[in-house]
Amino acid sequence: MNDYVIETEGLCLRYKGKLALDHLSLHLPRGGIHAFVGANGAGKSSLFRVLLGFEPPSAGSARVLGHDSSRLTPEVRGRIGFVNEEHTLPGWMRVRDLMRMQQRHYEHAGSRPWNGERYEEVLSHFNVLPAQRVGELSRGERAGLNLALALAQSPELLILDEPTLGLDVVAKRAFLDALLQSCIDDGSTIVYCSHQMDEIERVADNLVILERGSLRYMSGPDDFCGRVQLWVAEFPFKAPEVRGLPGVLQVQQLDGLTHVVTFDQLDADAFEARLKLLGARRVQVMPLGLDRAVNAFLSHGHAGARRAA
């Protein structure tokens, strides 16, 4: 068995004149929940389209479950679940007919049977009746149905592209519980793309940060938070320009204090001394939550942030 569920080497995708994926080399190990984070246009959805064989790479290679992504067989597709943010389902079908269709297609697919109990359990959190047409469901209800169907497939690899948009707090919690349960029960590998850091903090084992089609970072969320630090410095006079210092991601002026977010500032004493040398009267260092850390990390290369700078 291959150790990686997803492998890409120098993967490029040019789409309408833009480089959506830029020599992306990624090796995602089997098992666990891998959270993909990135600004809009970072290439997350493009990557999923290439991985599922819906877009040919302009260069490089991509493999999913050990298979060339451009030649996925129906058998391999049966082992990969996919949920997109739009929760596109045929609006003309009734819920029970749709469930039966998916069940028939997936009951003999892959090595795991259709999990009807999980379908019922996830769907029970939503007010969805079997006789309802999909087109009559609200966005949240449709999302619930889509997620219930995807989890019931018991896929070896489940790719979720911003799946919880439109879900209320209770439904979101129920879904995340089901996701964790699926990961534990079936040993599924879950690729989870979201902008909701609280969700990622709760479920992710691995954090993958993409920026403009390239891999910027990959490790556990805790490890990531450990490498991002917030320095609060008090400059009695005008604050000097500290953006140019090595490892600085973000600089903000708040209440007369200069907030500096850094990455991999291994020698904390040296950085503190540097700030003091620039005139800081007091310097304080503190850890950051995932939300703020990712925000600072991404804003470093964000188009809007660059313009503002």
Binding site: R14, D22, S58, M93
Partner: protein, 615 residues
């Protein structure tokens, strides 16, 4: 697959029910006003076009909605081979087409068959089947257009027209429509894949390239011809402009009446008697011999250009292909008047093939088919057999009566009959001086020394037959035949324009013309000629030069284009060879199947420098 099939049926069931009801009402009302089943071909083409547009719209809408990225993933990303997914969708669509479009027609036709005096043959039911297959062809074309990456994919619409629009038997037409649908289904299958790019798949590329090339060939000919002629019109030099017809040319000859055509034939004559004949020849003594028919209706054809009906006196004659006889109906009262066979009213002898009505220079009525000519007598309900020809010889539907002589045109000769005391007897036979298909017109004129016959060629000049002579004969009172004049008609258009079908792509020219040569469509053949003779016509040197130049230029451009595209050597060689053999249409298909966007995408990986390393 069955679930997708049922899902698709559910999706469109309401729309199908509305279409069914609307179609049933409209066809019933229209059929009340005219006998739709026996109408002429133009009416049938309008009906076919309306249904084809419905099918095309259905395909465009259905696959337009599936083509959206998220829906496409939902449809394609499942543990089911794409062939089964497509089969589910296609079968459901076929059932919907049959129920919504074909069933109302079958109902109306069945009711007409059982409750009215109108003629309904087996071929009419087959015609409904053909309409259903045409609608499916349009649906498949719509699916292909929507799923193909190129915006030029719409040229696929030429394929059903090329393959199925033939005046052949319903068996042939249905087989062609089925074959066309099979080809289109394969083409749709080639783009019905998660990744809709087909450039990396040799078979899919070839499958897309062939119809594209045929379509581009047709489009180039139509478009090029149109542009050239519009240019001529704008400059005021178009030969069809009234005041610009080339003197001694074919356009001028086409505008002659019978008298003028004979005069033109005599004008170049070296016979000393010619001036006298020209002076003495009166318009009333000249008549045209056609050809008034170059094609006859084959038995059990789906539709016919002149329809199945004509009016004669108080009666409407409708030909039945099941009985090979005419059904007579009183026009005003609508009462049935019985059947007319080859022996006339009440005679049950079937016609050899469907006759068509015609008249001679005295406006006397006739019925003519490929081998027999009948004169209509006594209000049209009695038939007098005039002439029968055998074997490969067929009638050209030309008859002129000049005094006591009757001239009849066939694809081999002109027969002159002399009326005597004991009836009509053959006087002479004048062999055609050119193949029947080249004949533009034939005239007969009566002079004191006998009968003048003028043959003008040029009918296939636009198809590459360069020679267009006018030959004039005299058949004297004793039946002796002498050539009294010969001239060559001038060219109205440049040589390259006349041979455009060939030099644009000789191979595609042959492919496009093959159906006419292989399918029995009732075309009157050139007597004694090989049916493939038109493919082996001699071409002038400048036409050869144009063909070779274009082929070579296409090949060189293909080499340049494929190099930019970074294609594998074998693929490059295949494309270059295709362009050398097929010319510009192949080059255009290459540019469509390997568009600029692809080139950029392919180049991206090689040329781009990696972005800044991760922090």
């Amino acid at each position: 697959m069955i679930e997708l099939f049922l899902s698709e049926l559910r999706r469109f069931r309401n729309a199908a029910a509305i279409y069914f009801a609307a179609s049933l009402v409209l066809v019933t009302v229209w059929n009340q006003m005219v006998d739709l089943a026996n109408e002429q071909r133009e009416v049938h083409i309008v009906i076919q076009l309306l249904y084809a547009l419905s099918g095309l719209g259905f395909g465009l809408y259905q696959f337009g909605s599936y083509r959206q990225p998220s829906r496409w993933i939902w449809l394609q990303h499942r543990p089911l081979h794409r062939a089964w997914i497509l089969a589910g969708v296609a079968l459901a669509s076929a059932v919907l087409v049959l129920l919504a479009m074909a069933l109302p027609l079958f109902i109306v036709l069945g009711l007409q068959d059982h409750f009215t005096q109108r003629v309904v043959d087996l071929r009419h039911y087959a015609g409904v089947g053909f309409l259903a297959l045409s609608t499916l062809s349009a649906w498949l074309a719509g699916a292909y257009i929507m799923l193909h990456r190129s915006r030029w994919a719409f040229v696929i619409l030429v394929l059903p027209i090329l393959m199925t629009m033939h005046l052949a038997t319903f068996g042939t037409v249905l087989a062609l429509a089925l074959a066309c649908n099979a080809v289109l289904a394969f083409l749709v299958y080639s783009v019905f894949r998660p990744n809709r790019y087909t450039a990396d798949d040799a078979l899919a590329t070839a499958a897309s390239a062939v119809p594209l090339q045929l379509s581009f060939y047709i489009a180039l000919l139509w478009g090029g011809s149109m542009l050239f002629q519009v240019g001529q019109m704008m400059m005021g030099v178009h030969p069809l402009s009234t005041d610009r017809a080339t003197a001694g040319g074919l356009v001028e000859a086409r505008r002659f009446d019978a008298h003028e055509a004979l005069q033109a034939g005599l004008a170049g004559s070296s016979d000393p008697r010619a001036a006298g004949w020209a002076a003495a020849l009166q318009p009333r003594d000249a008549a045209s011999l056609g050809p008034k028919a170059r094609q006859y209706a084959v038995r059990n054809l789906v539709s016919w250009r002149r329809g199945m009906q004509f009016n004669e006196g108080q009666h409407t004659w409708t030909f039945s292909h099941d009985r090979m006889m005419y059904s007579i109906r009183h026009r005003r009262l609508g009462t049935a008047g019985g059947w007319v066979g080859a022996g006339g009213a009440g005679d049950a002898t079937p016609f050899d093939s469907q006759p068509q009505s015609m008249s001679d220079n005295r406006r006397a009525g006739y019925l003519v088919n490929a081998h027999d000519l009948y004169a209509l007598e006594k209000g049209g309900l009695r038939l007098r057999h005039v002439l029968h020809v055998d074997g490969h010889e067929q009638l050209g539907a030309g008859i002129a009566v000049l005094g006591s002589r009757t001239a009849l045109l066939t694809n081999r000769r002109v027969v002159l009959l002399q009326e005597g005391g004991d009836g009509t007897a053959p006087l002479a036979e004048v062999a055609l001086p050119m193949p029947f298909g080249d004949l533009e017109r034939v005239e007969a004129g009566q002079v004191a020394d006998g009968t003048l016959l003028s043959f003008i060629g040029g009918n296939r000049r636009d198809d590459g037959v360069t020679a267009a002579p006018q030959v004039t004969y005299l058949v004297d009172t004793a039946g002796r035949i002498a050539e009294v004049g010969r001239r060559e008609l001038a060219h109205d258009f440049p040589i390259l324009f006349e041979h455009r079908d060939w030099w644009v792509s000789p191979l595609l020219h042959a492919v496009v013309n093959l159906p006419d040569m292989l399918i029995e469509k009732g075309l009157v053949p050139d007597h004694g000629a090989n049916r493939f003779a038109q493919l082996m016509l001699p071409r002038p040197a400048q036409v050869w030069a144009a063909m070779a130049t274009l082929a070579l230029a296409s090949c060189l451009l293909a080499a340049w284009w494929t190099q930019r595209a970074g294609l594998a050597p074998r693929a490059r060689l295949a494309w270059c060879l295709a362009c050398l053999l097929l010319g510009v249409p192949a080059l255009l298909s290459l540019m469509v199947l390997q568009p600029r966007a692809d080139l950029e995408a392919l180049a991206a990986g090689a040329d781009e420098v990696p972005a800044a390393a991760p922090v």
